[in-house]
Each structure stands twice: as C-alpha cells, then as structure tokens.
C-alpha cells in the first residue's frame, strides 16, 4: 500500500504543472451544488452577485498597486512624492464601501427572513443526531408515526481500502429520508449526545442539532431525485461517516411509500413478550451489533482500548445478566460524566437489546450459554420499566 501511495503522490506531483490551465477546463467540482429549491437558487444568485462585486473591487484596487509596481519603481528612477494625507479621498473611500455594503445587505436580508420562516409546513420531521447516525421521526403530516434510523451503508472494506470504492462512497445510507416533492417540509433538529449538524446543500438548509434543544429549518424541493450530504459539525471519531440522504419523490410515490412503511411497521413489530430461542436472538443480535456496536467495539470484540474496551472476555459481558442489560440500556457514566458508551435504551427496542446482549454473551471467546447466556426481551422490558 505504501508503495502504491508513494507512486500516486509522485505521479500527481509531476502531472500537476502539465495540467496547468487545461486542468481548469476539466469538469471539476468548484461551485455550489446545483440548486434544488427556491432558497438554494436565491443563495446562488446572491453568491454570484457578491463575487462579481468583490472581483471588480479587487481588480480595481490592485490595478492601482500593480500600476505602482510597474511605474513607480526606484530602478526606473522614479522619485518618491511626499504626500501622506488627503481628506477628500479618505472620506470617499470610507463612504463608498459603506454604500456598497448597504447594496449587499438589502437583498441578503430578504433571503435571511425567508430562510427562517418555518411556519405552516405540510410535513414535519424530527431529526435526531446520534454518535454516529441519524434518527428520523415523522411527527406531523402524511406518514406520521414512521420512524427509523439512517446509518452509513458504505462497507468498512471500502473505507479501509480493501475493496474498490463505489460511486456514492460515504454518501449512502441504509434508510433514506423520503419526502414528497413541492411540499414545505419542516425539519426539527436535536441530538442525543453531542452537537451534530444536519445539512442539505441542494436545498440551502443547514441547522445544528443540539442535545437537549429543538431547532428547526425548512425546505421545499423543486424536483424529484436523490440528494446527498454529510454531518457538518465535528461530533467525535466517526464524524466523517454519518451521511444524510434525502429521496424526493412524487406525491403518489410518497403516499405509496407511506402505505408500505406502515404495513411494515405493523408486520415487523417486535413482540417483547414472546420467548425467543438462542439461535433466533444470536442471529438478530449479530445484525444489531453490526449496526450499532462495531465501530467502537470492533467486529472481533476486542475494542480499541482504553476509550473503547473489549467485549471479548469482559467481566460485564460474561457476568450477571442484569448488570449488562443495565449497562446497555443506560450507558456508562464514569465520575459523573457520560462516556462514549451511550444509553442504547432510547435507540433500540427490547427485542433488539435482548438479541445483541445474547449475541455478545455467546460470541468470540464468550461462552456463557444456558439460562445465564440467554436474555429474553421480557427481561430487558422489566429492567427498562423498573428504571
């Protein structure tokens, strides 16, 4: 790998001068993403307007400097004038920029006010930032009650350079946020642990997700399609790996999607009172583990100590059931402060928790087995309610 890297570095370093100006003609990403909403369009034109103004002023000011550099050189025998004040000029170049700023502020203010107006939405969705995934709850409007978690779908092998990277590398999720086209969508943001930030550049919408508080933003997508982005507030280790994907569909498709989703919710509702077998729970637990635990505790259960301790051979995992259930339910609080082991109680249901705990008690070198190794959802439910 190292040699491949060096070769790539060297090739690029050598090729760059050659690219030169022709490189500029390449279709590279160099401007704001194509607008997908009215607000995003407004931002584009505002940006263009300000850039044109800046460029004109920049060229104006520096043409004076470069003319000086060209004409007023000592080597050309130019004698220095000794003026060092001119009240008229000084007043002019204070007042003119002020007027230009007012010319910028007026159209900008209009967009700011429009951007902030989250009233009368057609659909309200709550977005919760978790380390490191997004939770979506449809709280009002068509689809009310739909709720899912959206996690990075790019396989670890691609990130670790063990497999070729796909087209949507780092910008693909298991469950996309689905919204109808042309409707005003209000997004409430909040977070469970640290500050995250939800951003959809194509809609000109960005809002920090702050733990303990609810903030909001809105967008109205112009066209159907899939829009991709990422978390934009540093939220810890996996900050670069929690993408946001919004699929904008027609009203008919949206209604169809809601219908299917609702049926699925009813069908897939886990029954916490059912008794499961060890194999059922281990199989389900493996999936839950891969989605929620693997980035810290690793696939081999060895963790990355000291921040993320191993589960393989852990006393908590091989000890009393209740202790482990409580740890996963409520997270680990050390010396009065929350650790990276957050409470999974709010994120996972009783069946998922029972499954993942059963899985860790009977996987790798952990062989608890029997009555002690098998955690039924009812046991999790009892402890959850006790709390």
């Amino acid at each position: 790998m190292a040699r491949k890297f060096v070769r790539s570095f060297a090739t690029w370093a050598l090729a760059l001068p050659g690219l030169g100006f022709s490189g500029l003609a390449l279709a590279l990403e160099w401007n704001l993403r194509p607008a997908g909403s009215k607000i995003a369009e407004d931002i584009h034109s505002l940006h263009e307007y300000v850039m044109i103004l800046c460029t004109v002023i920049f060229i104006g000011v520096f043409s004076f400097m470069f003319y000086s550099v060209y004409a007023h050189r000592k080597s050309k025998g130019h004698k220095a004038a000794q003026f060092h004040e001119n009240t008229t000029v000084e007043i002019l170049w204070t007042v003119i920029p002020l007027l230009i700023l007012i010319g910028i502020a007026l159209p900008t203010t209009r967009t700011v006010i429009a951007q902030k107006d989250t009233s009368n939405p057609d659909l309200t969705i709550k977005v919760t930032g978790y380390q490191w995934k997004w939770g979506y709850d449809y709280v009002k409007g068509e689809g009310e009650g739909i709720s899912f978690v959206s996690t990075l779908a790019t396989p670890r092998e691609q990130i670790e350079n063990k497999a070729p990277k796909g087209e949507h590398y780092l910008l693909e999720v298991d469950n996309e946020l689905v919204v109808p086209v042309g409707r005003k969508i209000r997004v409430l943001t909040t977070a469970a642990d640290v500050i995250h930030s939800w951003w959809m550049p194509s809609f000109g919408a960005k809002q920090d997700a702050i733990p303990g508080f609810i903030r909001d933003l809105w967008f109205r997508a112009d066209r159907t399609g899939t829009y991709r982005s990422q978390c934009v507030e540093l939220c810890g280790k996996e900050h670069g790996f929690m993408p946001i994907v919004v699929r904008v569909v027609s009203q008919d498709e949206y209604s169809k999607w809601v219908g299917e989703k609702m049926k699925l919710i009813v069908a897939a509702a886990d029954d916490p009172n059912k008794q499961y077998t060890m194999d059922e729970l281990k199989k389900r637990g493996e999936q839950v583990y891969a989605k929620n635990c693997v980035v810290c505790h690793q696939a081999n259960g060895k963790g990355t100590p000291p921040a993320f301790p191993p589960l393989d051979g852990s006393q908590v995992v091989t000890g009393a059931k209740d202790k482990q259930i409580q740890t996963v339910l409520n997270g680990v609080i050390k010396d009065g402060k929350a650790t990276a082991m957050v409470a999974f109680g709010p994120q996972l249901n009783d069946v998922e928790l029972a499954a993942v705990i059963t899985f860790t008690r009977n996987n790798w070198g952990n062989k608890v087995g029997g009555e002690q190794g098998l955690v039924q959802p009812s046991e999790v439910k009892a402890l959850r309610e006790k709390k």
Partner: protein
C-alpha cells in the same frame, strides 16, 4: 530622519556588551534574562519551533487527505491532529511570534531602555514552554489528545480523556502569559516614550500593538472562563453546557467566540503594524493617512466585540440576531478597507524597490484582501448557511492567518534581521523563499474554496470521491509549503552565522527610531538615556 547616526542613549561600545547579560552565561542567561531583546529572541525561536510542530501536524492531516479512504491515521488520531494543529499554530506560533516582535521593537521604537516590567516579561515568556509541553504531552495520555477541534466545543469535550484537562491547563497558562505580556506592553507604551514621542507620532507598529494588548486583556479572561467551565462540567457535574442539568451547549459557543473574534484581530493587528512599517520603508514615502490608520484600527477593535455570533449562524439564532450580527460584521469591511486603501496609496507615486520584506508585505496585502473578501462572503447569513463548517471557511481563515499574519511575520523578520543581528540575509534566497511560499500557499488553500463550495465538510478524515482532485493538489502544495519553510530556517541561520555585515542603514526608507538613533546591530541596552526628538 537625521543622516548622522549618533550613539546617544548608548553608553557602551560594541565590545563591552557581552559583559552585560545579567551576570550569567550559557543556558542560565536565557532562563534568567530580563532583557527585552533576549526575551524577544526567545519568543521568536519558541514560535518557530511551534510553527514546525504545528506544521508537521498539518502535513499529517494533508497526508491522510491525499486520497479517499483511511490510509495512515485512524479517525480519532486525525481529530487529535486537527485540534492540536489549530491550538499550536494560534497560541504557540502566531501569537508568541508577534509578542517577540513587540519585545524587540517597542522599546527601540519609542526610545525606551527596556520593557516596563522586566521580570514579569521573563515570566510571561517562561510560562509558554510549559504550556506547549502540556499540549504535546496530551498526545501520550490514555485516550490521546482531545479530538474536538481547536474551538473545544462542549459537550464533546466531556467525552475526552485526561488529555483534555492538560489542554485546558495549557490554555490557562497561555492566557496568563498573554495577559501579563499585554499589561507590560500597555505600560511600556503609555509611560516610557521618549520626550517628544507623542502617541500620534508613534510608529504604527506600536499603535497596533497598544490596541492589540487591550484586546488581549479583555478577551483572554473570557476564554479562561469558558475552558474552566468545561473543566468543572467534566469533573464536578456543574452542567453549564449540559441541557440535562439546566445548561446550554450553545452558551459555550457564545463565550468562546466572545473571545474568539477579538482573537482574530489580536492576530491580525500586529501584522497590520509590521506591514505599516515595511511598505513606507520600501516606498520611500511616509505612511498614507496615519491618523485614519489609528482610527481604523481602533474601530476594528471595538467592532470585534459585537460580531462574535457570526461564527454561529447555524446554531439556530432568531432572525433578529442573525441580522444584527450580519450587519455588524459587514461593517468591519469599512475600516479594513480604509487600511488596504491607505497601504496602496502609500505605494502610489513612491520610489519602490522589492527586497524580500517588501515582497512579503505585498503578498500580505494581496492575499489578506482576498481573505477579507471571502470574509465578507462568509458574513452574509444565507451564503454562510451553505459554507459554514466546510472547507470554504478553512480556506478563508488560512488566507487571513497564514497569508495575513504569517506573511507579515516573515516581512518583519527579513526587515529587522539586519538591525537585530548586524548581518544581512541572502537576498536571492529570501526571494526564493517568498515565491515558493506564495505559490505553494495558494496551491494549498485556493482550491479549498472550491472544496467548500462543492460541499466538503471540515474536520473529516475521509471524503466522497468527487473531492479527490482538489485534495490531491492541496496536499502536494502543503508538502511544498512545508519544505519552503526549511529554506527560511536556512536563510536565517546563514545570515546569523556568516551573513555579510549589515550597513548602518540597510533600508534607506526606514525612519523609525531604531534605524535613526541606534547603531546596527542594536546594542544590548537600547536607550539608557532618552533620545531627543524634535
């Protein structure tokens, strides 16, 4: 501007000055010194060392970002690198560098024998190595250095290991050092000017530092408060920034940026000062609009305290808040514009020559103005909503921090090196250093504007494939930039060791006291009796 170089205020000849290092030789001389020049030298070498450490961290970041995927550093370590790169560059490299300039130059420029509080001066320097040691040591603590970004946002700070506590203590020490240094600078400027050196006759460098020192005294305690609240949140459950305990994570950001925005000008104003000395010297023409420069600098300083929340447009402020901070922020463009116009007007109809200090000053002027324009773009709420926390912001602040502050520091070093050491640097190599730095700087950071516009978030160790080309260019530029700075070290060492002897007035256009009233190199004690100014 007397043509005669007199030695009044300078009782000892050159040969005698080695006997006056406070009685110690070797290492103890540097530990016990109370001489403003020795302490200035210590500050400058310290900041160069930190510049190298911070630079290595930057190269590590650029190395990882050369290609998509995780190649060299795991995401956790990557976050530690970005955090420490920022802290070390801001607090360890740029700020001490300008305090070094202040120490060397202010007494000589105002006709004083030394700084007002000589022992305090020693202490404010010697706090720094301990702070730096704490920062570097945090890498070796369990859990490593904090990976939270240099802004140390709560509540992410609560999740960090003991390295976070070391960093907080380091920030305390750095703040103390800055406050003590500032009190010293204010006292020196206000009380120790030579007779006839009125405030409005002071060199612009002294003015910018006077205002900067007031900013430091006002802003640093606020930072100390913010990190102390984080410390008690971490260990004593105070919940200042924890909603579950009645606090608010956004409160941290308000406090931090109330310090953080003046901090921007704490870094920029001394740079303005250096450039205001260099441009007139090589234009052989007095600084245009001296009085308006003083007023503009003061206006920038005052405005800097009412614009902090423009760093926080996306936290969800009410629309009135966004509009207020947007209007206040754009207003800063007016006094900043005045300064740029004044510098250009100083060059206009001058008699220009382009030695290395002038090249760096012009590089500063050109690129800092570019950074100012992107600052205006960032100040506008709707546009900032798109580019906040993307590489556009990274590009913007590197234009003002590197092309602004660092270029000005280089200009100052080349400008005053002959005065400090009595030897000339190699002009050809100096020019090489400038052009390499200029080209590689733009190669690193100009393309980052595109990355930001296209949507690449900052502080990510891995990125989607569409950002690959610009990242490659940026990374290659970074290595070129890093190597060019080794050339700078070589130029300086070569000048000190075996540079040609500097003439008494190496720059004919430079006319502040250190050039007109002191020999070259400047004697160990500058003005034992005050010079007489007409």
């Amino acid at each position: 501007m007397s043509a005669v170089i007199d030695n009044h205020g300078h009782a000892h000849g050159h040969d005698g000055h080695h006997d006056h290092h406070g009685g110690y030789g070797g290492l103890m001389r540097w530990i016990t010194t109370t001489n403003h020049k020795d302490i200035g030298t210590l500050y400058l070498w310290f900041s160069f060392l930190m510049f190298m450490v911070g630079g290595v961290l930057a190269l590590a970041i650029r190395l990882e970002l050369f290609e998509p995927g995780i190649q060299f550093f795991n995401p956790d370590l990557f976050n530690q690198f970005t955090t420490m790169h920022g802290l070390i560059m801001v607090f360890g490299a740029i700020m001490p560098a300008f305090v070094g300039f202040a120490n060397w130059q202010i007494p000589m420029m105002i006709g004083a024998p030394d700084m007002a509080f000589a022992r305090l001066n020693n202490w404010s320097f010697w706090l720094l190595p301990f702070a730096a040691a704490l920062l570097v040591l945090s890498f070796f603590m369990p859990g490593g250095a904090p990976g939270v970004g240099w802004t140390l946002y709560a509540p992410l700070t609560v999740q960090m290991g003991i390295g976070m506590d070391l960093t907080i203590f380091a920030v305390h020490l750095l703040g103390m050092s800055s406050i003590l240094g500032s009190i010293n600078i204010i006292t020196t400027i206000l009380n120790m000017r030579a007779p006839g050196m009125t405030l409005m006759r002071m060199p612009m460098f002294c003015w910018t530092w006077l205002i900067t020192a007031y900013l430091l005294v006002a802003a640093m305690p606020v930072l100390a408060g913010a990190v102390t609240m984080s410390l008690t949140d971490r260990h004593f459950g105070t919940s200042f920034f924890n909603a579950a305990g009645g606090g608010d994570p956004v409160l941290y950001q308000h406090i931090f940026w109330f310090f953080g925005h003046p901090e921007v000008y704490i870094i920029a104003l001394p740079a303005f000062g250096v450039v205001s000395q260099v441009i007139p010297a090589f234009s052989r023409k007095p600084l245009f609009g001296y009085a308006s420069m003083v007023y503009a600098t003061s206006a920038i300083a005052i405005l800097s305290f009412i614009v902090w929340a423009h760093h926080m447009y996306t936290v969800g402020m009410p629309v009135q808040g966004q509009l207020f901070f947007m209007y206040a922020t754009t207003l800063i463009a007016v006094p900043t514009g005045v300064k740029v116009f004044n510098w250009v007007a100083t060059m206009w109809k001058g008699s220009l020559s382009f030695e290395t200090p002038m090249l760096f000053a012009m590089g500063f002027l050109f690129l800092f103005t570019l950074g100012g324009f992107t600052g205006l773009v960032c100040a506008l709420v709707p546009i900032d909503i798109q580019i906040h926390d993307t590489y556009y912001v990274v590009a913007h602040f590197h234009y003002v921090m590197v092309a602004g502050a660092l270029f000005a520091a280089f200009a100052g070093i080349y400008f005053w090196l002959p005065k400090w050491t009595g030897r000339m640097y190699d002009e050809a190599l100096g020019k090489w250093h400038f052009w390499l730095t200029m080209i590689f700087f733009n190669m690193i950071f100009f393309v980052q504007h595109f990355l930001g516009l296209a949507g690449m978030p900052r502080r990510i160790p891995d990125y989607p494939l569409m950002f690959e080309t610009w990242n490659k260019i940026s990374s290659i530029g970074a290595f070129g930039f890093g190597l060019s700075q080794l050339l700078f070290l070589y130029v300086v060492l070569k000048a000190i060791r075996r540079g040609a002897k500097a003439p008494e007035r190496p720059w004919e256009g430079a006319d502040s006291l250190e050039w007109t009233h002191l020999p070259t190199p400047a004697p160990y004690h500058s003005f034992e009796t005050a010079p007489v100014l007409k």
